[in-house]
Symmetry: C2
Subunit: 251 residues, 2 copies
């Protein structure tokens, strides 16, 4: 397949690399920031598109990986009637004029780290049966976990991903900061983080919850809140998350 990448962020970068490795041709890259497009184009050994009006009409798929708010704007500028335009957003609906479907890889992508695309679930949604079939083939060429999902459920999946991944990573960042402020090495809790994640691969997280809140250990909670007294942000987060654990387990 021939592909045009519209966007040059983490998703576009990793997707472009995976498509190329699977034998597809990435013809060109466009990005709002020309420099970013050039960087990704160099990585993929392809052309840079300066202006959306100038995209070629030879690609089989035009993959839009830009911020959710910019998707409609990008589509409206593309002179590509009847071409397969798809976006990679978890939350944006497929119901956009000019859009053919959605290709949402359920993964966190950072430029610093390679990923194994074959194990990444990809949710697809085509506006017609035929488009779904073509999306399924494209996704299947890079992943073993392709499934169809409508826009409403895809949004739910994205919300779950934000809680489980983006928010968890932020908690790791908080932990690192708290340790650093006290001259302690973040490495001390890496085995703990690894074990927490490893545990839920085989067990329901609700059933393996540990810590002061699930034990309703108010003396420990009070001691931690007292320590966090001078950091209102962390103190409120600690309180709210502890209360949420207590509520969750009373259900």
């Amino acid at each position: 397949m021939k592909v045009t990448l519209l966007g040059s962020g983490n998703v576009a970068t990793h997707l472009g690399k995976a498509l190329k490795q699977a034998g597809h041709s990435v013809l060109e890259v466009w990005s709002r920031t020309r420099e970013n497009a050039a960087t990704l184009a160099a990585l993929l050994d392809c052309e840079v598109v300066e202006d959306l009006k100038g995209v070629n009409d030879q690609s089989d798929f035009y993959i839009i990986s830009v911020s959710d708010a910019a998707i409609s704007d990008v589509i409206s500028q593309l002179p590509l009637d009847g071409k397969l335009l798809i976006h990679t957003s978890g939350t944006t609906t497929a119901d956009i004029k000019g859009l053919s479907g959605v290709f949402y890889p359920v993964q966190t992508f950072s430029k610093q780290k390679e990923v194994d695309f074959r194990s990444i679930p990809i949710a697809i949604e085509g506006k017609t049966e035929s488009i779904s079939q073509q999306l399924s083939e494209l996704a299947g060429s890079i992943s073993d976990k392709v499934f169809q999902l409508d826009s409403d459920k895809r949004k739910v999946l994205h919300i779950a991903a934000v809680f489980a991944c983006n928010f968890s990573n932020h908690l790791y960042a908080i932990a690192e900061q708290v340790l650093k402020e006290n001259g302690l090495d973040f490495g001390l809790i890496k085995p703990l983080i690894a074990e927490t994640t490893d545990k839920i691969q085989d067990h329901s997280p609700a059933l393996v919850q540990t810590g002061p809140a699930v034990r309703n250990d108010q003396s420990t909670i009070a001691s931690h809140l007292a320590y966090l007294e001078n950091n209102k942000d962390l103190r409120e987060l600690y309180k709210m998350l502890s209360q949420s654990i207590i509520n969750f387990n009373q259900k």
Copy 2:
């Protein structure tokens, strides 16, 4: 070494098994709930102590693994002047009358899952140099990562562990619930959770943060909050965690 276990929860269970495997003798187990003591004693093939006043005086270590609020009460009932009494709490100070020191394994323990104690960091604190030495030997017999830490810093380490482990696991539980309510399988985000954790083994979490909040993608955030409108608890958590990510990255 000969050991008496006071407590029969997750820490006492895994610690007892690790000590036994390392060749130590667990002589007896006491617990507030006799049935729990009996279960652990059966697992470790040792005696049950019915009454704290009846613990034997032959052990080298008396390890107190009870809730933080109960530690002082347990110590006060033990007729063991001059014996090595230690607790396993992250947050409770070593400065308790009758206590000799602290032995805090930095890990999450669930009865359902085995752990490799050799990779678990153990923070020790002895009231004297000689006690620290003995604690170091005991800890070193089951772990390769033993280090000394005073009570104040141990509490900080525990707080970081609560954020990184207990709170993250709760976010996994929330994600599982959100998915389940929509007929979606938690397995769909397991690769994402694994990747998030894997990433921070080699990268600072603050530098690999992804998701709508760190992009300040307000349209996605608004869409997610609208979906969570009927779940006040999750909605507030989503808002607070997103704002915390935004604040964190503006520093």
